[in-house]
């Protein structure tokens, strides 16, 4: 019985995110003019997957009490790169995919190295590197264009066995193969420890630097997966500044919705995935209820505000007012 309670306490943020998403998706699905169908799920999941990958990336960094404002730009850069190199024969395509993922990995490593060894604040570092990544993207694709191996693209944006959206399977695979081992490794736990209290983590001899480096590197990799999928959906590469920035900002929103503490030390990438799914569903809800699309930003903002407020209830119990600022 008590075991159950502790588990619940550990997973509260993630469970809340799942709850919010399920509730919103049910409202969406039951009011959808075409009804609940495999087709509808496929469309919805394709739209949400991109943000979900970027939100996972953001969550991993935020857990170390950092922030990565370059995730959207890494997505844009890898999208542009993929539109050049993920083409041709099966072997060429495979090498291209590796090249794209490797690029994301390197971008993340650069972020991590600067934050750790340059001792710069993550927020400034990643604004700067993000601008650089965007600059490279612009050089790769001054104008939208390029192409992608369409067989692979269609396979990864279609359905498995006619029902399961492949993009969703890919998302689950990334969570299972990257997040789960990471969060249960010594490095991953050091990342949580660093985010919770860096001084205590240092005094306890936890590998703080390795943890931060791993976090930024994984964030780069996951953003690149997002960039790859963007290419699969759009068949082209585009150095779109506004959309890159939107992905960065929405990733932070998704992370918060997903129960990850911006102060670090608490949360999970799984929660962030559901946060991203929920965030995307807000937009879709407006669509099924026939609202003017002009309402979308306002409405998204309201829902986000509400979700964040839930997390702030704890401050009402504070007995030393100085803790408000801690």
């Amino acid at each position: 019985m008590t075991e159950w309670r502790y588990w619940l306490a550990e997973q509260r943020g993630t469970l809340l995110a799942i709850g919010i998403f399920v509730a919103m998706f049910l409202i969406y699905a039951t009011n959808h003019p075409a009804g609940f169908s495999a087709n509808m799920v496929q469309t919805a999941s394709n739209k949400a997957t991109l943000l979900a990958f970027v939100a996972m990336a953001q969550a991993i960094v935020v857990i170390t009490a950092g922030i990565d404002l370059s995730v959207g730009m890494i997505l844009t850069l890898t999208n542009c790169l993929a539109s050049w190199i993920v083409v041709g024969t099966a072997t060429e395509t495979a090498l291209g995919v590796l090249g794209v993922l490797g690029t994301g990995l390197v971008c993340g490593m650069i972020n991590g190295a600067i934050v750790i060894f340059g001792r710069l604040q993550p927020i400034v570092t990643t604004i700067a590197t993000g601008a650089m990544y965007y600059g490279i993207a612009l050089m790769l694709r001054p104008n939208p264009g390029g192409s992608v191996n369409e067989t692979l693209a269609d396979a990864l944006t279609g359905r498995l066995f006619g029902v399961l959206p492949t993009s969703l399977v890919a998302l689950a695979a990334a969570a299972l193969l990257i997040w789960v081992p990471y969060s249960r490794s010594v490095i991953g736990r050091a990342a949580f420890a660093t985010g919770s209290s860096e001084v205590a983590a240092y005094m306890s001899g936890a590998p703080i630097r390795a943890a931060k480096f791993a976090a930024y590197t994984l964030a780069g990799l996951l953003s690149a997966v997002g960039g790859l999928f963007l290419t699969f959906f759009s068949y082209t590469g585009e150095a779109a500044y506004a959309s890159g920035n939107a992905y960065t900002l929405f990733s932070i929103a998704a992370v918060v919705l997903g129960g990850v503490s911006l102060m670090g030390g608490r949360g999970s990438a799984i929660g962030a995935i559901f946060g991203a799914l929920a965030f995307r569903t807000i937009g879709d809800l407006l669509f099924v209820f026939d609202f003017d699309p002009l309402w979308q930003p306002l409405f998204q903002g309201l829902v986000l505000m509400l979700a964040v407020s839930i997390g702030a209830f704890g401050l009402l119990r504070v007995r030393n007012r100085l803790e408000w600022f801690g």
Binding site: W7, A193, S204, G205, A206, L322
Partner: protein
């Protein structure tokens, strides 16, 4: 003295922080299978010694040997690996991780590269059991545990590392009485298993019960080592005090009762279990000192008076009237007229990159603003006057505060609050880390303010200051005022012994806390 081969030896260890000598060619010898108590006043060098031993800071000079071999630790984990483990006061636990995660933080059992949570849990349960804290659930989050339980987790964590030397730095200060009993049993068992234990505590009766050897530190040096029980409490206190220098203090005027109600009065002030039933009266023209060891509730008392803490019990009276001070804004309002000069000037007292002018203005905008707009001329006039009055040494009021010396920065903090012309001034250890010359100026300033009718409450960790500056001293222990000293009663001996919660009437056995 002791036949067995020493396990650890430190020789000629020194450490300076800026101009302050924290440790001055100190030495120490530690033997296996014994509990060695380290005694000393605030700032005697005990914590610095520990930090050097566990690799938190590196010594400026001197050497350490462990088991006959010279050692130097670059970081805490290197010291832990060598077998020296320290239990700090709740500093090393990670609030958002579970108890089991915390215990096994540095070297968890792994399987296929992942943490083996089942094995980890077994080890954690075992370690908790060994620490006498089997009732703590290994999955509980540390931040959800009360302080005394956290301390037990800290002890379990240290034990799971199988140390050769275990250092307990005030490790019992947050424990409940029943926990203390359990911890003592654990410590005695560890001693019989051949561990060396270094025990730092201010509780004399704990030392009497536990220690085999005692070492007394003073002014950064080891003054004496003796077998426990061979000296009385009074003799130990005698060893701990005794300074090399005395400050010059302004004369204390003789105060006459004028029949007016006290500027500030507390009746039965309490806050959780951190402040207990505190009552005192502070009159205009008076300087009251807050004494006692670090962290006995002095800081909380000042914060409570300044309206920072919530859910305070008891009454606060200003000029005889009951008031509710529910925020710093209310505290500094004209009717109440409080000012709090904070302890950590770098974070709470000053905005370092901003100019002296802006810093001085920060708490007193309404004195020279009209309809919300700052009257520049008035501001300049008031600021120039204040800089002259307090003798802040700055080339211009537009220099950033960070460019000033530590002493002058502290003067800016004090001046900032004087801009408001407060009637009641609370000070939190205002002279810590300040040169002697500036200290003297601050003492003179405090006395002048009191003579001009201010009521001053001064928390200080420097006994000289309490003796030289204060008309009365309240000595705090464990959140309560343990003793009030006035006039000639304020002596170093009285301050130290009441701070340690022992009777100073020269007896060997200590009173139970």
């Amino acid at each position: 003295m002791i036949a067995a081969e020493p396990l650890f030896r430190a020789e000629g260890l020194s450490k300076r922080y800026g101009g302050v000598i924290a440790l001055d060619r100190a030495d120490l010898t530690v033997h296996p299978g014994r509990i060695h108590a380290i005694l000393g006043e605030n700032g005697a060098g005990k914590s610095t010694l520990i930090k050097l031993m566990v690799g938190v800071v590196a010594p400026d000079e001197g050497r350490m040997t462990l088991g006959g071999r010279e050692v130097a630790f670059g970081n805490p984990s290197a010291a832990n690996d060598a077998g020296i483990v320290c239990i700090f006061q709740e500093l090393s636990l990670i609030p958002d991780l579970s108890v089991a995660d915390n215990i096994m933080i540095s070297r968890p059992p792994t399987r296929l590269g992942m943490i083996d949570r089942r094995a980890q849990r077994r080890i954690a349960e075992d370690a908790l059991e060994r620490a006498g804290a089997g009732d703590i659930h290994p999955r509980a989050l540390v931040k959800d545990l009360p302080l005394s339980r956290r301390q037990m987790v800290e002890i379990a964590k240290a034990l799971s590392r199988r140390p050769k030397i275990l250092i307990l730095d005030e490790a019992t200060s947050a424990l409940t009485a029943s926990d203390v009993t359990k911890v003592f049993e654990v410590l005695k068992r560890l001693r019989s298993e051949g561990l060396a234990l270094l025990y730092i505590s201010h509780r004399m009766h704990e030392i009497a019960e536990l220690a085999d050897d005692c070492s007394v530190f003073r002014n950064g040096r080891r003054i004496s080592t003796f077998a426990a029980g061979t000296k009385t409490d009074a003799e130990v206190i005698e060893l701990m005090i005794g300074r090399e220098y005395k400050h010059a203090f302004p004369d204390k005027p003789v105060r006459r009762a004028d029949g007016r109600p006290p500027s500030l009065q507390c009746r039965g002030l309490g806050w959780g279990n951190r402040l207990k039933d505190i009552s005192f009266s502070l009159h205009a023209g008076e300087i009251i000192g807050l004494g006692g060891l670090d962290g006995q509730g002095q800081r909380e008392l000042l914060l409570a008076l300044f309206g920072v803490l919530r859910d305070i019990s008891g009454d606060i009276l200003i000029d005889g009237d009951k008031v509710a001070i529910d925020s710093p804004v209310a505290a500094k309002s004209e009717r109440i007229g409080l000012a709090l000069i904070p302890e950590d000037r770098k974070t709470e007292g000053l905005m370092l990159p901003m100019s002296v002018r802006d810093n001085l203005s920060a708490a007193a905008f309404d004195r020279f603003a009209r309809f919300g707009i700052i009257d520049r001329q008035r501001q300049s006039a008031l600021i120039d006057e204040m800089i002259r009055l307090i003798e802040i040494k700055t080339a211009s009021p537009d220099l950033p505060v960070s460019a000033l010396s530590g002493g002058n920065q502290q003067k800016v903090v004090i001046a900032k609050w004087l801009m408001n012309k407060p009637r009641i001034i609370l000070l939190n250890d205002p002279t810590r880390g300040i040169d002697v010359g500036t200290k003297q100026e601050i003492y003179r300033l405090l006395r002048r303010l009191a003579d001009d009718g201010a009521a001053i409450l001064l928390y200080s960790t420097d006994y000289d200051e309490l003796i030289g500056c204060c008309d009365r001293v309240l000595v705090m222990y464990d959140g309560a005022v343990r003793r009030e000293l006035a006039g000639a009663e304020i002596t170093e001996r009285a301050l130290v012994s009441s701070a340690l919660n022992v009777d100073d009437s020269a007896r060997a056995e200590a009173s139970p806390a």
